[in-house]
Symmetry: C2
DNA sequence: TCGGTGTGTCTACAGGTGTAATCGGAGAGG
DNA sequence: CCTCTCCGATTACACCTGTAGACACACCGA
């Protein structure tokens, strides 16, 4: 595996869990944010309480996925890893695990299971044309 | 725990974990197999021991993902759920979680991150053409 | 200066997962 | 018939995850 970093303290590359991912989404969308602000974004939708958010934030900091920046008496959190890196990693993991690394197989499967809308198809076609140039 | 009647598929949709998935792959490829045969297929590659395989098999049976069929004094295991169902579910989960349900976004991401080989592109193009018919 | 309010850290705990040792019963061999 | 062996089932245990309470401390306002 291409793990670009070494390890120690806040090593990036630690696995981000599902609940943690929800937190990351908020911070990818807008950052830096305080714990309270993050809670404002997710506590209602996910039914979480403040302590839960704080735990998740701490774990993410521990995993090296978030940076903390002292602002006044509180901390502001910002992502340390790129959303596209995470998304890419997860996508690749899925493709590897389920389709033997063949992205075309994933596509074929989505196509067969009619998970692709006309809109999807149109856009993919467009992208494809663009790449072929 | 009281299984009064022979009802095994009563809890479909139970989450299949990563290690369990490896077992499923073996059985999707070839079935029915005994525990020993499954172990032959995965124990070396994954560094598992027989007890581990048996535990995973039991859990899968418990989850309603495998059926057991007594053959002589041993049991033979067969998948109860289709590989395509599992794969489809996992794919959709990923697309939902990471791309807001838009499969085109997944494709775009794979394209951008150059995870698509020329071969992939060719095949996707072909599939696309076929669907458009 | 003193208390309240907000913030991060520590602790907790149930359920799932990875991994494996051990037990108990059903045949196989002597 | 008795023992050995093989196999599934049971039990074990550490770690991760989801969820949350309790605690300590710093600052703002009175």
């Amino acid at each position: 595996m291409s793990e670009t970093s070494g390890e120690a303290g806040g090593t990036p590359g630690e696995r981000i869990s599902d609940a943690e991912h929800a937190i990351m989404e908020v911070l990818w969308d807008r950052h830096p944010l305080s714990a309270a602000e993050v809670c404002d974004e997710v506590c209602e939708t996910r039914g979480w309480s403040m302590p839960t958010v704080k735990t998740l934030l701490s774990r993410l900091v521990g995993k090296g996925a978030l940076a903390t920046e002292p602002a006044g008496r509180k901390f502001l959190y910002s992502p340390l890893i790129e959303r596209s890196d995470y998304v890419g990693g997860e996508s690749r993991r899925l493709v590897d695990r389920l389709f033997g690394g063949r992205a075309a197989s994933l596509f074929a499967h989505l196509a067969e299971s009619e998970a692709l809308t006309d809109e999807d198809l149109g856009e993919i076609e467009r992208l494809l044309k663009e790449m072929r140039k």
